[in-house]
């Protein structure tokens, strides 16, 4: 193994990245190779200088600028979210109010229900019943009555159908 093959191991060793058997092998080579010793000490020196050169304090103004930029952006985002939430709330409320205001009135009863409630057809159709009623009325008029001389009561019955009107003559 020539010295070029040792370079990367020495570089790891110089940075403290070798341990155990690997570190011992490098140490043995360094002990018997002056060229690699120079390389190793130069490398160590360079690494130390590199670390020192980056130990400089970053001026506080740069940190403040970063923080201010981030906080400004976050506050802007928060404002936008709040505005969107407010607009959404107002929109939903307006839609509810509009929906209540424009709600249609009670629906007309279904056809089946009307037919059941207004038995107009049987009343009209029963002409015989009407005649019978008239006859009864006439017969009653012929009978002697305790309250003779009183005028009969005329009852007018109206159905849901305006064309059908029922008159009822009662004593």
């Amino acid at each position: 193994m020539n010295c070029a093959d040792w370079e990367e191991r020495i570089a790891l060793y110089a940075g403290g990245d070798l341990a155990g058997v690997e570190a011992e092998r490098v140490q043995r080579h360094l002990a018997e190779c002056p060229g690699c010793q120079v390389f190793w000490s130069g490398l160590k020196e360079t690494l130390e200088e590199l670390r020192e050169s980056h130990q400089m304090e970053i001026p506080a103004v740069h940190f403040s600028a970063v923080r201010a930029g981030v906080m400004a952006e976050l506050r802007r985002e928060h404002r936008t979210w709040r505005r969107l939430a407010w607009i959404s709330g107002v929109g939903i409320a307006a839609a509810l109010v509009l929906g209540l205001a424009l709600r249609p009135g009670p629906l007309p009863a279904p056809p089946g229900r009307v037919a059941a409630r207004i038995p107009a057809a049987p009343l009209v159709a029963t002409v015989d019943d009407a005649a019978q009623t008239e006859r009864r009325a006439l017969a009653a008029a012929d009978r002697p009555r305790p309250g003779a001389g009183r005028q009969p009561t005329l009852v007018k019955l109206q159905t849901a159908d305006p064309k059908i009107v029922i008159y009822w003559i009662a004593d």
């Binding site: 570089a11 940075g15 990245d17 740069h62 940190f63 923080r67 952006e73």
Partner: protein, 187 residues
Amino acid sequence: MATAAEGSFESEGQAKAHPSADLADFERLMRQHERLVLATALRLTGSMEDARDISQEVFLKLYRNLGKLTPPAIPSWLYRVTVNSCHDLTRKRRPETPVEFETGLVAAGADPQQTLTEDERRRALQLSLRMLGQKERTALVLRDLEGLPTEEVARILGSNEATVRSQISKARVKMRAFVERYLGRRS
């Protein structure tokens, strides 16, 4: 154990989710980690302006991901996002000015008899970082300047330890060669 200075993000064991995250608490969290992000970005980009832009971007991402992170995971996450942001910026930018060209400019403007100063050595070291490839530079910065263990560097870079060790050793060898060459020219 969390200290009072660490703020409520640390003491809750789990970082707050985005909707309830309090901005004052987040600012305290930012103060705890701002050096990590800004210094890493500065070392990787070599430009304070870029480092500040990247830091802002990284902290905004942190705020949006707080609900997914536990406090102990935050530093590694910050390193990873900072490194990725720096790489993204490098990809967007045109290739960096060749180092040899910059070295030539410095040499031309300097007095050949001038003795080597600390500033010059520092400049050589800064340039040596710029001369490294992106992966080697990142591995070197995280290991030698941020002082992270190789295992952690590998985790941050999404790589394996052997690869990272190789990148670190190559970076050190190249850096040393560059500094010797640079200072040799200047002396």
